[in-house]
């Protein structure tokens, strides 16, 4: 049995609302690791004997770069590490660039954690298929840490990861380690490769042909660009996986993180509060809409 931490035992939705959700806690950057040319992993701790709030895999925080702005960033660290919160951030604009250029010792504001989590308690006993694209591996990493720590509670683990190029692959060392877990299969692919890349080339859906799935006892956790997720869902449905066993992490323009401002509305849902993790059964019909 899983030694359940309070946050994991609650299941995917809804999680209890975080206390003082509008209060920003100061945290200190203790490590900045460069993952790729534009993507960095920041480790934060509270300092002064304080603790940062616990989280469930799949949740996100609002990170405040003082004087610049606040950003929704998925937590990418180990949920069993009570001392640190870890975030993998891609620099794509002013605020994210300010965040990834923080130095050790700099302060960052943290609100949260917010949102729903991957349903790790509900999918115990099943084969787990994880499909990630690009930086979408970051919100899945806490779930993979959990699966690895509680390996006996789950069936076969398959991780399919796609990135733009070999230089854009995240967590390469961890990918290799996960591939050495018992009854685990890790496959990476890139959209474009050079001659030094000896792995697969092609979109992530081309990896499905190497995977054997028993759809009646499997669950899929997916995170990546929505175009990719749509095609992945099609492949899974084609292989007989039920929509209720497919979970996706959605992204919208989250601002308040508590369902007040409406910036992240997606059909009947506020992604910050009702998501970011949804079952496909919930969001079917919303993924391919140009505007809602």
């Amino acid at each position: 049995m899983i030694a359940e931490s309070p946050s994991l035992a609650r299941g995917p939705w809804p999680l209890a609302p975080v206390e003082n959700s509008m209060a920003t806690l100061p945290a200190m950057v203790t490590r900045v690791a460069k993952e790729t040319a534009d993507t960095f992993t920041l480790t934060l701790e509270a300092g002064s004997g304080r603790r940062l709030p616990p989280f469930s895999p799949g949740q996100f925080s609002m990170l405040y770069v003082f004087g610049i702005g606040e950003l929704p960033i998925s937590i990418s660290g180990d949920p069993h590490d009570a001392e640190h919160l870890v975030y993998t951030v891609r620099s794509v604009g002013l605020a994210t660039n300010a965040l990834v250029t923080r130095q050790c010792g700099d302060a960052v504001g943290v609100r949260g954690p917010f949102g729903t989590s991957w349903p790790l308690a509900e999918i115990r006993g099943k084969d787990i298929l994880i499909v990630a694209g690009g930086i979408g591996l970051a919100p899945l990493r806490p779930a993979i840490y959990h699966l690895a720590r509680h390996r006996a509670d789950y069936g076969r683990i398959v991780i399919l990861y796609g990135a733009r190029s070999p230089q854009d692959l995240l967590y390469r060392k961890a990918l290799a380690e996960w591939g050495r877990l018992s009854d685990a299969q890790v496959l990476s692919t890139v959209d474009y490769g050079g001659t030094s890349w000896r792995g697969h080339v092609g979109v992530v859906t081309t990896l499905f042909r190497f995977v054997r799935l028993w759809p009646s006892n499997a669950a899929a956790l997916i995170c990546g660009p929505e175009i990719m997720m749509r095609y992945v869902v099609r492949e899974l449905e084609h292989r007989g996986l039920d929509g209720a066993d497919i979970y996706l992490s959605m992204e919208r323009n989250m601002k308040c993180a508590v369902g007040f401002c409406g910036h992240c509305q997606c059909g009947p849902y506020f992604v910050c509060k009702d998501g970011p993790v949804f079952s496909y059964a919930q969001v079917k019909g919303l993924l391919d809409k140009y505007e809602l």
Partner: protein, 158 residues
């Protein structure tokens, strides 16, 4: 490889799933087992090359070269097909095919296949509908590749 083994290898290949025995035997009569070494170039861009391959093992990369740089666009492995354009009248290759591992194939001459299709329309329909499935699948993944979705600014920041 004798005819019985060829037919067995053919019928186990996903390309020929559902093909009737008569058509499988006709294909087997045209098949030749061909193996390639690791790093061997099967054909280069611009080559006139008429073979169509069913891959039995190993990995082949499709590449384009530009200004001394090689870009790897797709990898193909056991259960997939290489050189479908050989079934069309032009055999000029638009990509380079390089073996990333030792590769075992069943090879067919594109001209022989086209001739067999013209002589036996039942066989021709069965073969070409399978080729069309390959082309449609390649087109679909290429379109998805073209979206370059991982670099889109709206893709997850973290």
């Amino acid at each position: 490889m004798d005819t019985a083994k060829l037919v067995e290898a053919l019928t186990q290949h996903p390309f020929l799933e559902g093909l009737d025995q008569q058509a499988a035997e006709k294909l087997a009569s045209m098949a030749e087992p061909v193996e390639f070494e690791k790093d061997e170039i099967i054909f280069r861009e611009g080559d006139e090359y008429s073979a169509f391959f069913l891959l039995l093992s190993g990995v082949v990369a499709l590449e384009v070269t530009s200004a001394g740089r090689i870009l790897r666009l797709q990898t193909l492995s056991a259960g997939e097909e290489l050189g479908w354009s050989s079934l069309l009248s032009s055999n000029r290759k638009y990509f380079q095919a390089r073996c990333l591992e030792p590769v075992q194939t069943l090879a067919f001459d594109g001209g022989d296949l086209r001739k067999a299709c013209e002589e036996d329309c039942h066989f021709g329909y069965a073969l070409m509908s399978r080729v069309l499935r390959v082309v449609a699948r390649r087109l679909q993944v290429t379109r998805l590749q073209l979206t370059d979705s991982y670099s889109y600014p709206g893709a997850k920041e973290g």
